[in-house]
Subunit: 364 residues, 5 copies
């Protein structure tokens, strides 16, 4: 499943999990959306001197091409064909719980060591330029001594570059190293995508900030809320990555060489950097909300000041006018020649003294 | 006791505990609500080749059926018959404090290792669709080398599926494994139920969100408050589960095999996922409250603007009208032919200039 | 000193400490309130077969009754007689700092291991039903191989039950065990009292909640503030208990047997439960304050809406009436037959259109 | 430097440090305020049987009096004479960085172990009754096997008591112990002063609380802000003390004996108590601010209610009066005998119904 | 790149990283701004007896001057010439990932140990007096047994003093020690610069505080927001320094001697002090915002009070005047001699009683 990041997402996450409740653990059940497309299996085989690639929808045909003493990378795109994945898992003696985790599109990122392989589950986060939102989808890696299995939901082009590179140049680092270095390359590209998403969201935050600084508007609150929510989603996907790669760094295992470990240390730093940026964004959004709310209050003050100034100037004038409009005999000065002069002076006097008072209080 | 989750719950939790204060520790005292129903005891006995099940209300009859070299699972539904539970505990050499903890329906989830068994206390959280609320009840497991005792408050159907599975198929994983795997299966089903509750609450949060985004209403605050409170209750029940299962993972004990440990690791991940979701929900509710409050302030601004616009347009007009309504002789232009024209121009002029001013300030 | 929990308490805590500043450390100085009452010393002596109890105000007389091979429990009620306590301390080779800590009624709960004894300082929290408030007082225990000294401020009846139980039944657990189990029993009763206090405060929170939910009132803020403050006081007293009992659990000492350790583990769980409840209460009070504040804003909106509706309906009517009340010749339609009809239509029209506008905006 | 705690303080802290930037590390540079006074050096020499004290401004004279097999305590008051301190440091083989730290009046409290001594840097916090504020100044201790060097800024009388005690009584604990116990006594007196400062601030908080509870006033906010700021300053000075004394407790060093360690454990507890109190004060101030803000909103509601009640009662009356004041022919009932009765009934009716409405809404 | 600290900065940070995404890891790619200037390479060679310095833009010429048994410091200013840096890296067997990190101007500060060197990445923060803002730029150090490579973006004069000192005096500490001490000196100067930036920002905070305390103004919010944002940027740069220097302290490596470790411990303390100050500033800004917001509410209360007082005094007067202005026959007292006296008394009475009421409520 490629979950589009909308309000519905977080809830769907819980929802999806529910489908398989009631079944015994280790039951292979796909929790994403059903798809009509057949899954595509791509097998890449390489060693320093030679490399080849086969695409097929038939697993047996694929597996028959595996050779010894080379690195075998089997990439499965599309998780809905449960039988196919179970068959593949059987061939590589994969634990039923691992199969369950691969098929669970809402799995929390994790690393699990088994006797013959390391299971790595990640979240791929891709930015969709058209909808200006991101999409979170799972990626599972099974890293063995000389093989790597990768499982993605739906077919994507994300590994095309990598495959091309493997085919193209002999004697490069990628060809000389084992499957652990290949796994590193995939993880590295996943973390690189996080930067793209953060950049795009950073742009949105920057725009929101500009608008909030200029003048608070009702829909600003909604924008900030929406961005905060996106941060929550990203956080849920990215935070566990720290543990994941931290775990890989300290795996006491012959599968990951010290050569690759240096590279993983680098990815770890990148993950820390994304987390730092994420937390900074969250702090910025909080500050922005504070500023927005203080902006609203400032605006309210402004409105109230206007109302108060106008009202306190004209209400006394109305009252005086009302008094001289009464049908009573003895209103003072009413009939006097200087009456009107006095009344108008009084009115102007009150208005002016109110203005002076407000001016002194620095209301305008 | 099956505590219905209402406002009363959290307080009842403290309340219940008080009942047995003053008694010596290890005193077996049921802290839930009294019930007239007799507790039901179900004994399930199985090994890879055979399986049988007995239901009885007589403990001696039940125990007489136990055999050696099989896994014995004794499930007690109903905790109010203290004597019965004490009798059972004696047979299995259970520590008096464990009995006390089993009977205390408000026990905080925990794991305790004893010489001959592991005591596991959990909270079962069930969603009640009718009342749209959840119910928290305790579940205690006593896991020994070849036996498992489970204690629930009131009779439920939650183990029916599991029992049916044990009877049905020979040579499946459940039958081949020992009591520790059975305990895992029970814990797994408990954690699965957490997802159902979180899904239901997630739906409520989503609905609340939609309403808050559209237009803040007085009862929104109450809804958010209610949801926050539910989160507090869930948190109190679910957070300790992390320790519980984390503890089980590192029990240096021959009771839990490495086979089962892999499965417990999986439950641990699920617990972490529920906690992640819970924390995300809490963050969302906080953001929602912020948005709700900013919505109230925005609305206040709107109301004040309306008041201010109307008032500042009509109050000067009233004042002018008042002036020309005075019974004074020398109001300027009063008797002039052009007087009324001037007065009306003045009125319209003030109104228009106020409107232009507000328009410029972008009040409407 | 039994510090009554009022606003004054927290400050008195600091205040009391100051009294002995300037004196060399280990100086025995009572920091509580002076009392005229003589302290009461109760000595309880027991072993599985026999038990006896002496009450006296003379320490030498008391000590003369001590026998070997029995557990001796000396309980001192009243800390103001410094000489008496020093004399007792000398007999048991108590470190001067321990004596200082016993006499300091504001001592932070702690455990300290010495060569020949373990010093345990606790806070007893008692609920006073009449004043609906709690009282915090210190309790010090000195736990040796075969003896237990307990020090309380002022005489209380809190140990009467325990003493009665020791005297009553031979061959019960309490009589068979050593002084460490007796210490556990005392600590357990102290923690049980925390539940009573939390229950009472829980009731107050529940009542406050009901009032806040129905309608925010000015004094609600004060109630919430008061409850929050109580939580701060409780927190300061209860949080260190976690360390205290955690420390006791890991004391590498022959004084505490593994038998008693299982019981202490149970008290540790109870302490964790009180802390959980305390934190939940704090979170609830925070949410309640948020709801209270949003309630105030909602109410303000309501008030402002009423004002705005009435004002915007009648102010234009007044203005029109004012215009037709002017003493000017050429007000249109003034003299016309249809004038009044028009004017009234205008007034009703404005009022109705305002009402329609507010209705559309869902103001009422 | 004795930095008076005002707004300027926190910034001066940064400011002072800057002075020596650009110089090589280990450069001895005084960062406090220059003083004309010559520093005073006091040498105290003691062992269980004899004790003597010399005051001088000449370091060589002082040092010549040192004897073997006694504890030598050299106290320097006044840090501005850099040469003098460097000379002293040379005699005791003090590391240049230690000298730099002694002279840096803004040094963060710390403990550093060197081969031949332990360097301890503390903050002395003294309450100034006249200005009702506190003063933070540094105190450095260099603790060697048989000597203690103490460095204070400006001369104070803080060690007079201690010196008098050393001279007065032979065979007391202070005389029998080594330099480490002397260091403990000094640290203990420093921490005791924290209680005095906290007591004084506690009084101020209590007064602020009383005022806030009664009625929020504009300057309350400023008081709370000021107190919060003081807490920040104290926190910055006191928090590191926890590490400092914690470090001293676990120094694997023959300089600090197990005898003294028991006493340091006691100081550690006192530090924890000051930190607890500090945090409680901070929480109280936060709650107080919340209550203050809710008080402002309550007051606003009250003001608005008054305005609304008066306005909504009299504005309709004015409008009706206006209508009957129009110079139009056909106002209904105008000329009728019962007209005025009707009009007045209408006016009173509107006023009463508004009052009933507000009463029902519990506005007054 | 020297990123000017503006709103754009934080986003540019993410932006820059993106440039090299899609390329294989370890690809040397400069992520800063292109520059036309040629990079300057300065080689400093010294041992206790002799020292020399060469500046060149040709790397081979530079490297030819290296001698054995001396400390060689190669400083590269300008990172845009990727080939030059790669060439240099090859000569010293630097890992490609290190080269990548050097060229990445947005690298998070870190320490990485390799077999033959330690890689240290720092953030230099410089205060720009003219623009009253700070500039964050990267500094990379490669510390080997007898050499130190330093890489800065653009040429600066920051090492001029240090180089002059090396040349000037023989037999000083700097000349006697190895490359690790030189690295310490550079790190120390970087951390010293943090104090200058914090001092400048401290001044800005102090000014903001003065303004906020006096009277809240709309742009105060913007100032506080801006300062908070700066703190976020600083925090992101300074926090990782704690880990960096903490890591250096515990490097089990022969490259860093115990002599230098004592000095690094000192820098660690300085870093802790900057972090303390940073956190204190953040807390101050939060308190300031609270005070600002309460100031706004106080001001609103003031405005509303003015409005309410004026309105509630004059509106009843207007209403009474209106009543006596009606063209109705039977207004009571209208024609009476005492009518006007009564009416005016009523008006004055209402006004006075309102004033008394407000006075009693302490509104003015």
């Amino acid at each position: 499943m490629i979950a589009v990041c909308k309000g519905a997402h977080m809830f769907s996450e819980v929802h999806k999990h529910v489908k398989k409740i009631g079944q015994p653990p280790g039951t292979a059940a796909y929790t994403g959306e059903k798809s009509e497309k057949e899954p595509i299996i791509t097998i890449t085989i390489y060693n320093p001197t030679e490399a080849s690639e086969y695409t097929s929808k038939n697993i047996d045909e694929c597996l028959s091409r595996m050779k010894s003493d080379v690195v075998t990378w089997i990439d499965v795109e599309g998780l809905h064909d449960v039988d196919l994945i179970k068959k593949l898992a059987d061939r590589f003696s994969i634990h039923p719980l691992t199969v369950e985790d691969i098929l669970n599109v809402e799995q929390r990122p994790k690393v699990e060591e088994f006797d013959n392989y390391i299971f790595i589950n990640l979240k791929v986060i891709l930015w969709n330029k058209k909808s200006s939102s991101f999409v979170i989808s799972p990626l599972s890696l099974i890293l063995g001594k000389h093989f790597l299995l990768s499982f993605q939901d739906h077919d994507t082009t994300r590994f095309d570059n990598l495959r091309a590179r493997i085919q193209k140049t002999a004697n490069q680092r990628l060809r000389q190293q084992n499957s652990d270095y290949l796994a590193y390359r995939i993880i590295d590209s996943v973390v690189d995508d996080y930067f793209i998403v953060l950049e795009a969201l950073g742009d949105q935050i920057e725009q929101a900030e500009k608008r909030v600084v200029v003048r608070p508007k009702p829909n600003n609150a909604r924008t900030i809320y929406h961005l905060k929510r996106q941060m929550l989603l990203l956080r849920k996907a990215i935070w566990p990555m720290r543990e994941v790669i931290g775990h890989l760094l300290y795996v006491e295992d012959k599968i990951i060489t010290s050569f690759t470990r240096i590279y993983l240390r680098d990815v770890y730093d990148h993950t820390m950097q994304t987390i730092d940026t994420l937390e900074t964004f969250r702090d910025m959004l909080s500050s922005m909300l504070d500023m927005y709310l203080s902006g609203l209050t400032i605006r309210m003050n402004e409105i109230m000041k206007t109302l108060t100034i106008i009202t306190t100037i004209f209400i006394p004038i109305s009252a005086i006018a009302g008094i001289y409009g009464m049908n009573i005999l003895n209103v003072p000065l009413m009939k006097s020649k200087w009456g009107s002069a006095f009344v108008f002076s009084l009115m102007v006097g009150i208005a002016l003294s109110m203005l002076v008072y407000f001016r002194k209080k620095k209301w305008f």
